[in-house]
Symmetry: C2
Amino acid sequence: MADRKTEEWAAEEQTPNLRLSLRVKEVLHREKTPYQEMAVYDTFECGRTLFLDGTVQTTEADEFTYHEALVHVPLFAHPDPRRVLIVGGGDGGPVREVLKHPSVEEVHLVEIDRRVFEVARQYLPFNNSWYGTDPRAKVMFLDGIKYVSDLTGQIAAGKAKPYDVAIVDSTDPVGPAVGLFTSNFYAAVRRVLSPDGLMVAQSESPFVHRHVIKRVVDAMSEAWPVCRLYLGPMPTYPSGYWSYTIGSNGGDPSHPARPVPAGFQARLYTSEWHRAAFALPPFVQELMPGDAARSAGR
Amino acid sequence: MADRKTEEWAAEEQTPNLRLSLRVKEVLHREKTPYQEMAVYDTFECGRTLFLDGTVQTTEADEFTYHEALVHVPLFAHPDPRRVLIVGGGDGGPVREVLKHPSVEEVHLVEIDRRVFEVARQYLPFNNSWYGTDPRAKVMFLDGIKYVSDLTGQIAAGKAKPYDVAIVDSTDPVGPAVGLFTSNFYAAVRRVLSPDGLMVAQSESPFVHRHVIKRVVDAMSEAWPVCRLYLGPMPTYPSGYWSYTIGSNGGDPSHPARPVPAGFQARLYTSEWHRAAFALPPFVQELMPGDAARSAGR
């Protein structure tokens, strides 16, 4: 086959024994930032794809399922979200989804790695069309743990306003994100939210990261009166199925607090999907501590 | 690294541009049958794994999600399933799930490729413990299309009893399975079922096989008065998320017709999960023809 070319593949070792590979059309960018190794590819299967430390963060083909699940469940679970905090999420996708909610007046993105945001803005424009065009969005390049910690003091002193919803869009619990998976952090986030506020954190795969889900659910249950887990598809993340852990002060986050407005642009989210995402199969239910399992709609 | 060994990986080209690879502990079996190429591996991530024509059929780690979704949704949607037909499913997993239903008196497995069944019985014992121990199960090595076609005549002549539920557990719509994805076949299946009978067919991934879902849903809607689609996780199949298409004569298959009996062993299925699986996101809803979409709970 004289016309056969060398193929390039970008592979993620999802575990030491499981690998997902995407055929590469073009290598768009490679860089070592102060925090992580970054690469952007154009792939045949999934379009533009961002890797951080060797793991897929965002692909053009399926980022919508992750970002819609992460953002719209807590935002529709809140009756009137006006101020939203995003920790991590430097690729810009979560801000795009938050800004679809007309009630939102301010969304603050706190990303530790400025280069993730800058490179995503250059190569993943589908995530970042809001930048410079929607004045409700503000981007800060700070350590999210320090930002939240400092803010607790300012709010206690009446010098800053609390948020209504906090979204933790972290990388995996290694490297820069490890402190984002602790009950101390979840408790601090709770102190920067209003009394009817709620928070969500991505919490990995119910098939291959079961220990992480247990740890997140335990930590969230320590810090918040109500802790619930929900699930959604995410093809390019390990196992193709992903979990999200949500904390609230008493409200039931498995039920939307308000209908989807007319004309709302969503490819994953509906009110019915919101409720369905909390129907945990027994193999996931068994990861929940006793109290959380009992409240989880068995 | 003097102690580094050569690694063996079993890879599926899920599409020409997307590949899933499992690290292999041991190659257990390889064979070319009259119908397909077959391989069984022991893998580090997923345990025993059966490949047919280069595609993952069953892994010890996640076969439960596929088999429970495929079997328990139609069986619990039926008020009193006594006679069940399985076309395909030679690895034995669907029979195991059907036999969990105490109402079932007979389950007939019609598999075209005797070697799939024999090899699965040898290497995938978690699928086949029922063989030779549960007299309700009968295995036939026949072409499912011909079996159903012949049976329509016998039932019309009052010489055979109809089934209550038919389950089509096919490989992908290439090779031996292609005839199982047509409205002619679905209509023939309808003629071998009782008036309150229903059928289900696996219908591939809502992310990477969207044309297949459209084809199956259109064909099922031609052959059956009610056609619904439901979804579930399946990590080692392309995109990790899978669809199932169900036809009924009028009953609503999205609602269980009876509760889960006490002591029922399930890792995926609950009544709540059954209903949730029909909550189609808009990107899947758009694959449904007008009538099916309207009946699909918007």
